[in-house]
């Protein structure tokens, strides 16, 4: 019987524990329910939603790399309208906090999406994916320039009263600068990292493995990069951090929390072990208990103190 307080407060977002599942790796919350009851988790994040339905990229969309996974799903999703009609109503039934991830290709897209979700929508927070290309500005991702990142977050801020999580792209020179920009934009929470841009070539066909050529790298391979970025962002901003990127075990989760994450999110690891979120929660709790922490909060950022 645990005496460790697992309650996690990310600004105004209150979770029963710090374990979240990551957008794009957890469907709409139902797929993994037979393996890992969502009600045991702090929150789940649903697949990225865009204003209109998207078929996404052609297959192959997946390529395995050493300790990593490349994906180029291309934001396949039912679109806002269908999401609200067919998926949103089912989410409260999962008995967990639900974070809706939104993705746009223009400032207008984000305005539109943000307006569609308010505190009475039955969800807990909006996670703003700024890793998509800004189509009106040469296709560089919003999340690779501080100005455009700040602008996207400010737009979302103006159009919703839900807590906002700004999800940072790791494909940048200076992650701390990006974090400061979204903080200025009005983000309540920062989540990081999204996937790293990568590529794999099939030496038999001499073509890229992914139909889309490039894709996003996730999984244990990226963990040292993600931990470094969480550590840097923790020193740069005053808002709480959701850490992710290659977390597979409770030890990894502890590592992110020591680096400065107040909560952690599990993505690729679900594919390998659908019970990963629960296994991680259990291990994290035991770690705290064995070391005499009364609350999981106490370990956040400890690696900075020494």
């Amino acid at each position: 019987m645990s005496k460790v307080n697992l309650k996690t407060e990310l600004a105004v977002l209150k979770l029963r524990n710090p374990i979240i599942t990551s957008s794009g790796t957890y469907g709409f919350g139902e797929e993994y329910a037979p393996y890992c009851p969502p009600s045991l988790l702090g929150a789940i994040t649903v697949k990225g939603i865009t204003p209109l339905p998207r078929l996404g990229n052609p297959v192959p969309r997946l390529a395995e790399t050493p300790a990593g996974l490349l994906n180029s799903v291309g934001l396949e999703n039912p679109g806002l309208e269908e999401f609200k009609k067919s998926y949103l109503p089912k989410l409260p039934g999962l008995d967990t906090e639900v974070i809706v991830n939104i993705s746009g290709f223009s400032i207008e897209d984000y305005t539109f999406l943000a307006s569609a979700f308010q505190s009475d929508s039955g969800i807990a927070a909006l996670e703003v994916n700024i890793s998509c290309p800004n189509i009106k500005h040469g296709g560089m991702a919003f999340g690779t320039h501080p100005e455009s990142a700040q602008e996207v977050i400010a737009t979302v801020r103006k159009n919703t009263d839900l807590p906002i999580i700004a999800k940072l792209s790791p494909n940048v020179t200076d992650i701390a600068e990006m974090a400061k920009a979204v903080e200025r934009g009005g983000a309540d929470i920062i989540s990081l990292i999204n996937t790293l841009l990568g590529m794999s070539i099939d030496i038999r066909s001499q073509k890229p493995v992914l139909a889309n050529k490039m894709g996003g790298l996730s999984g244990p391979a990226v963990r040292p990069i993600a931990v470094r970025m969480v550590y840097q962002v923790y020193e740069a901003v005053d808002i709480p951090i959701i850490g992710m990127g290659g977390i597979s075990t409770w030890q990894d989760a502890v590592e992110f929390m020591l680096a400065g994450a107040s909560a952690v999110s599990i993505g690729t690891a679900n594919f390998v072990n659908p019970m990963a979120p629960i296994d991680i929660l259990t291990g994290l709790e035991e770690y705290c208990q064995q070391r005499g922490y009364g609350s999981v909060r106490e370990i956040v950022g400890l690696a900075h103190q020494r």
Binding site: T25, L55, V73, F271
Partner: protein
């Protein structure tokens, strides 16, 4: 559920050049599995390879509570599979996905390419031979595969079968689609299929599935195809494994091979996007 199934058997079959293995798993999978479904198996407790591997269920023994899979070593994951020893436990998700429709009467034509023959064999197991006539058409590279697979004498076991190989070392020389065409063009079949009594189930490489589907559709024969796609989650959560389909209004849609598949109605699959 994540199951820990016990490996009852895991051995190479026939000629090493074929790299063909058989694995028998004992546990809960067999209870609910139907032909055409697959399991998602962890090949090693390691970050490299990272992902599970999908493998078709090729034999289901509800009494002994065993399922059988057959696999070909093609890369790191399947190579690691061969190292698992008998009585070790492996982590399995499954049974996953859709299965083949099991006909209750009429004729079922199985069209197999290479290793695709195994999942189709599990269909033969469950069909009521009194009411359903089954015929198997198989095409592959050469005779060695069928010898290794232990299927060279399958006709003697009462399975009505025609074979073709690329090198002509077994059956007729050529593709299985040629066997299919001549079979569907034959008079007796025309009669059956006019009765709407003939169904086709097919499993093999993508190019073959496409050709088989086109032939079947041009003969107005319903066909179920077992698709393959690279998979990450295996349960419908990652959208990594989609195929394209046309819905009844002709709109392009995605289906997840792991969830709405791997067995799909050939009619709806869009082969070239």
């Amino acid at each position: 559920m994540i199951l820990k199934e016990r490996v009852v058997e895991n051995r190479i079959m026939g000629h090493p050049a074929q790299g063909l293995y058989k694995m028998v798993l004992s546990g809960q999978i067999a209870q609910t599995a139907i032909p055409g479904q697959f399991i998602h198996l962890q090949v090693a407790d390691s970050n490299d390879p990272l992902l599970r591997r999908p493998l078709s269920i090729a034999g289901i023994d509800k009494v002994k509570e065993e399922v059988t899979i057959y696999y070909k070593v093609i890369g790191k994951g399947t190579e690691l599979l061969t190292r698992i020893r008998e009585n070790e436990h492996v982590s399995v998700l499954g049974p996953l996905g859709t299965g083949f429709t099991i006909p209750e009467q009429g004729e079922l034509l199985l069209v197999a390419g290479g290793i695709g023959v195994f999942p189709l064999l599990s269909l033969i197991q469950v069909i009521d031979n009194e009411k359903v006539r089954v015929k198997l058409l198989w095409g592959g590279e050469n005779k060695q595969f069928m010898e290794s697979a232990g299927l060279i004498d399958i006709e003697k076991m009462g399975v009505d079968m025609e074979m073709s190989t690329l090198d002509g070392s077994l059956g007729t020389q050529g593709l299985v689609t040629a066997l299919l065409e001549s079979y569907l063009d034959g008079g007796r079949i025309t009669e059956l299929k006019d009765k709407g009594n003939l169904k086709v189930a097919t499993c093999g490489p993508k190019g073959m599935l496409k050709a088989v589907t086109n032939i079947c559709l041009s003969h107005k024969v319903p066909v179920e195809v077992s698709l393959e796609e690279r998979m990450a989650c295996g349960v419908g959560a990652c959208l990594g494994c989609v195929c394209s389909v046309k819905d009844s209004e002709g709109n392009l849609k995605r289906k997840r091979v792991c969830k709405e598949g791997p067995v799909l109605d050939g009619k709806e699959v869009v082969w070239d996007e």
